[in-house]
Subunit: 643 residues, 2 copies
């Protein structure tokens, strides 16, 4: 089957939901994070990121500080800032980015090498621990930043620097004799090289990306040999996953399950999908499909979070989805969005967009505070504050978002995704114009040479009514996604009901559009009581509440403590009331429902009893969108509730 | 209220259930463990315990190996072997124990010091890390062994050696100026000193025990000062419990909750109860009562296991009782038995005996394989084998008992408890003769000078009928425990029904007994469906199946996989069938019941759905006693099941 085509179009977002969120990112998040990268946030973990570049450039004295991958934080920030300039030109921000790029490039070595950890710590040691020391990861992120900034501003300084950096990498690594047959311990450069290739069309860049995909995990294992040669300590020696943590337990083409570090997995699979599409590699596409299916059909939370275990920030096994000890790193949900878009580009199937939407509206958005200044690394589906303090296996679960992190991968990752949301909404393939996500705004594109000019109006995700208007005459097939969660829908063109069939998740309205034509898609958005596959043992006997793309949760702030005592009883979707609450949590559709609350009445200090019953009393339950949890006083939260 | 009095009586066990278990311990466990201590078990972790003593005595060359507390393994083994000689004289075993004692005592230093870790590693470093290095723990266990062996055989060699050792400790530690104001990081010596005091009546021994109880946790904190003085690394620096791990976060008398390392907690509380009773210290008794109540009313599993978290092998917080990540160390359940008996000695309340019975028949017995040669350290209430391999937070949970452990505290601890079961069954206080546990055999004791001669016949725990016969004329109050799990019971004397009232868990039959009098106690032992207090969030909506003192479980071997899909539905206790299965798992009463089994029919590869129902089909469930789980092919096991 054919893919959904090219995603990068001329898109303008003008949307009640997303514009507000993105303005928060632009006004608060981007400046805040720049201050964080420059160690200017009081009471936050210092970043040292920009200082490292100045030290590496000889502009300051000092030692490298922070993680070996600290460089990547500013790379992701530059990338996010670049995207924001695309939809909100801002000479002052652009000047700040230019200044950041000057500092980054000043640290570059004559041979193109650019990694402050080794520039400061000793260039003689570079390329000795690809497995753990993130040189290629940092280069990959900086490459993504360089391409984005070039595409938005036309400025080549960082792009040229990174092309030189890639030349240096290509001179050292590769299949040829005399080169190291290595690859990155943490993928990302694969996607980055594919984006660079899209700009340069230099076959060297495609070849290097493909090499990294294909060489990974081959025997003899590079990471093992490198580790022995340089006495690198293998942190996961006694673990069941060992090299699979690095996505190198097997060659990618032999892998059947999503294993190891979840972010590395998502980034690798996304890069592989890029390579598969560009090289028309049906086998590799099938590998991506297989890993996709394992991920989203057996190892993904209802929020689109992935990574069940804090240990190794990793996948565990099929249907193992604990809600309280979950990892669900924000970056992993972002990686799932990357992977989903690339699978869509390979195959125009609504399933991919469904997951993209699920992760975006739930597992990704939950990573950021309403004010854009605090972040979750871990996104639990069930929180008991006392447990986070007194049960070590839950100590990674925070009840409040944090100002910054020693390992600050997530905050700038959210910024770069949300600032580039334009690139996830539409795609064009031949005469097919796909609308994958429902976001208000406009599209300018070409479909088979015809000018596509669309406007979209909607109050999504709060409402399922979407109006798509044609602003120019052109013949093409408008393919509108009918989300997997939607059971009833209607579509009208200029007020006239249309017979349309959902094929692979999309309806097609193929006609010669006239300016002024209006398509009204009405997606019925009732409350759904979602069950997990019975094999998910942690969710047995429980339901989650969802409405449209949003997963809901109970919070202590609305429902008092001891949320484990709450049951839904016989309440069905029809018993829920949805109401727009403009002043609550930045504006939400709140749900209320009847339910039951068990009590310990009659139990006193009895711990176990064969006689005592557990009494239930009717309760009034208030549900808020999951992604807005933890924006009030810290307290309990719960997604899955017993019937 | 008065206590249950003196437990150490002349008791002979002749019981279908216990004699078989104890014969396994005697014939298999004791010789097996002696071989283990001498590194003679193929494919098992070597102990090095006896070698350490020979090296310390200069009889062999080498380094100390194993943990700093390795000496305690042979101490517990000697103690267990000593008890077995009490009920089964065995000159060959006695000769082996004598030989072991020779090797132990040969390592003793002229000043009485006896700890192979420091004797081998450098005596100049002794007494520099009481917090972590277990000198007093090893001395405590060896002291218990010495007293036991002396009491059984009359031989004083180890006893005299340990009295010298205690003299050495007393010269170094204590409240007096010039002494170190320290105390053990791992309690046990408190109980041991009280036993020694019972033999020597030397006030010094009582005083030292009391000092250890009272000094612990006082400010300035000895462990902090010692740590700073000797640069000892505090392993729990970043943990919420820190010194509470060592039971030293607060002075014992200020503690209100069972916290920190569960075995240390149980041993300390047991020792404190001994001191409270001996010194008539009502305040300390109240402290013990408070910690008892917190332990058994909010932090104990239905199996009598304690310690909810692998991290620190520790208690966590009230009602936090996860079944799958539980620690539930065998030693902690044994410690709870110790604590229970001592609380009974303080106060004749059935609640204490109920917990003693619960822990003994479930959390303790589960620690040993049917063949007596393999052991559990951790005793989970829910096991999914794949999770133990692939979920790090469950990696401490084993699906099979192990041959031995690097830290082998549990195996000899089981042996010493089971071999001394005589000391937990009866107690005498004035004219009250208590029967706490129902175990076939005989008692010879004195009640107010009258000769008490009783025989007990029962098929407990499989059956609730108990016959107690008087074998001599004597007037006393026979106080028979009516277990907390028992709702209906009758008692007859010589066939005549008696009106008796349960007071504090016991009925009293006070009369002038004649030889030949027979008391028939019939404890109704139906199946019970046990609920946990609703505050136990991990058990919400679930029940456990019990019959008499035994908790039951489902195993994969009887019920196939995916036990999380099993529900009890409307099945009540009356729907269960109990049947004696002589050839199954060493002979058990097996329970069968109707139930439901959910399936993933219709789900296919769907992970979440608002439409799919979860279908249930009737199922036939087979339940086995929890303590016999994991005696067949490794597989799933589950105690708590959804309704």
């Amino acid at each position: 089957m054919s893919g959904a085509g090219q995603f990068i179009q001329k898109v303008r977002i003008d949307d009640a939901f997303w514009s507000a969120t993105r303005e928060t990112v632009r006004r608060e998040g981007i400046p805040y994070q720049w201050r964080a990268l420059n160690d200017m946030i009081p009471d936050a973990v210092p970043s040292h990121c920009m200082r490292n570049f100045r030290i590496a450039a000889g502009r300051e004295q000092g030692e490298h500080a922070g993680f070996v991958f600290q460089d990547s934080d500013v790379a992701k920030w530059i990338e996010g800032a670049a995207y924001s300039l695309r939809w909100h030109p801002d000479p002052q921000l652009e000047a700040t980015v230019d200044g950041a790029i000057d500092e980054v490039v000043a640290a570059q070595q004559p041979d193109g090498y650019l990694d402050t950890y080794y520039i400061i710590g000793g260039l003689d040691k570079r390329w000795t621990n690809l497995r753990d020391n993130h040189e290629l990861y940092c280069a990959g992120h900086m490459l993504e930043a360089a391409v984005a900034y070039y595409q938005v501003t036309g400025k080549r300084k960082l792009l040229d620097a990174m092309i030189r950096c890639v030349d240096g990498i290509d001179a050292v690594l590769g299949p040829e004799e005399g080169k190291l047959h290595g690859y990155p311990g943490h993928p990302v450069i694969e996607m980055a090289l594919m984006r660079l290739y899209g700009v340069t069309h230099d076959p060297k860049h495609l070849k290097l990306a493909k090499y990294f995909i294909d060489q990974r995990g081959q025997r003899p294992l590079y990471f093992r040999e490198e580790g022995e040669r340089h006495h690198n300590n293998l942190y996961w020696k006694d673990s069941y996953f060992q090299y699979q943590y690095y996505q190198a337990g097997l060659p990618l083409r032999e892998q059947t399950e999503a294993q190891g570090h979840a972010v590395r997995a998502m980034y690798l699979y996304a890069g592989a999908a890029d390579v598969a599409r560009e090289t028309n590699d049906a086998d590799l596409a099938e590998v991506c499909r297989r890993l996709w299916m394992n991920t989203v059909r057996r190892r993904m939370y209802v929020t689109g979070a992935v990574g069940s275990s804090e240990y190794g920030e990793a996948f565990t096994f099929d249907y193992d989805l604990p809600n309280d000890t979950v990892y669900g790193e924000t970056c992993a949900a972002i990686g799932l969005v990357f992977f989903a878009r690339r699978m869509l580009a390979l195959e125009a199937k609504g399933e991919y967009a469904d997951v993209m939407e699920r992760a975006l509206y739930n597992g990704v958005l939950s990573g950021m505070q309403l004010d854009g200044k605090k972040f979750f690394y871990v996104n639990p589906l069930e929180v008991l504050p006392e447990a986070c303090l007194k049960d070590q296996r839950k100590s990674h679960v925070k009840v409040e978002r944090q100002k910054w992190f020693g390992c600050a991968c997530c905050p700038p990752n959210i910024i770069r995704l949300l600032s580039s949301l334009e690139d996830y909404i539409y795609s064009v393939n031949g005469r097919d114009v796909f609308v994958h996500l429902y976001v208000g705004g406009t599209l300018e594109a070409e479909a088979d040479g015809a000018p596509v000019r669309l406007s979209v109006e909607t109050n999504y995700p709060w409402d399922g009514a979407v109006t798509v208007s044609a602003n120019a005459d052109a013949a093409f097939a408008l393919r509108l996604r009918v989300p997997g969660w939607c059971r009833r829908w209607t579509v009208k063109v200029n007020g006239e009901a249309q017979e349309a069939e959902v094929r692979d998740g999309y309806i097609a309205l193929d006609r010669a559009w006239k300016a002024g034509d209006a398509v009204a898609l009405a997606l019925d958005m009732p409350v759904a009581l979602v069950r997990a596959n019975p094999r998910v043992y942690e969710d047995a006997g429980k339901v989650a509440v969802a409405r449209g793309p949003l997963v809901y949760c109970l919070e202590e702030a609305d429902n008092t403590r001891n949320l484990h005592l709450v049951r839904l009883g016989d309440a069905g979707p029809q018993d829920f009331t949805a109401a727009w609450k403009p002043d609550k949590l930045g504006g939400i559709v709140e749900l209320t429902s009847p339910g039951l609350r068990e009590s310990d009445a009659g139990w006193g200090e009895t711990l176990y009893s064969g006689e005592n019953a557990v009494e239930s009393a009717p309760a009034h339950l208030t549900w808020i969108p999951y992604f807005r949890w933890a924006n009030r006083e810290p307290g309990e939260m719960r997604v899955w509730v017993r019937r």
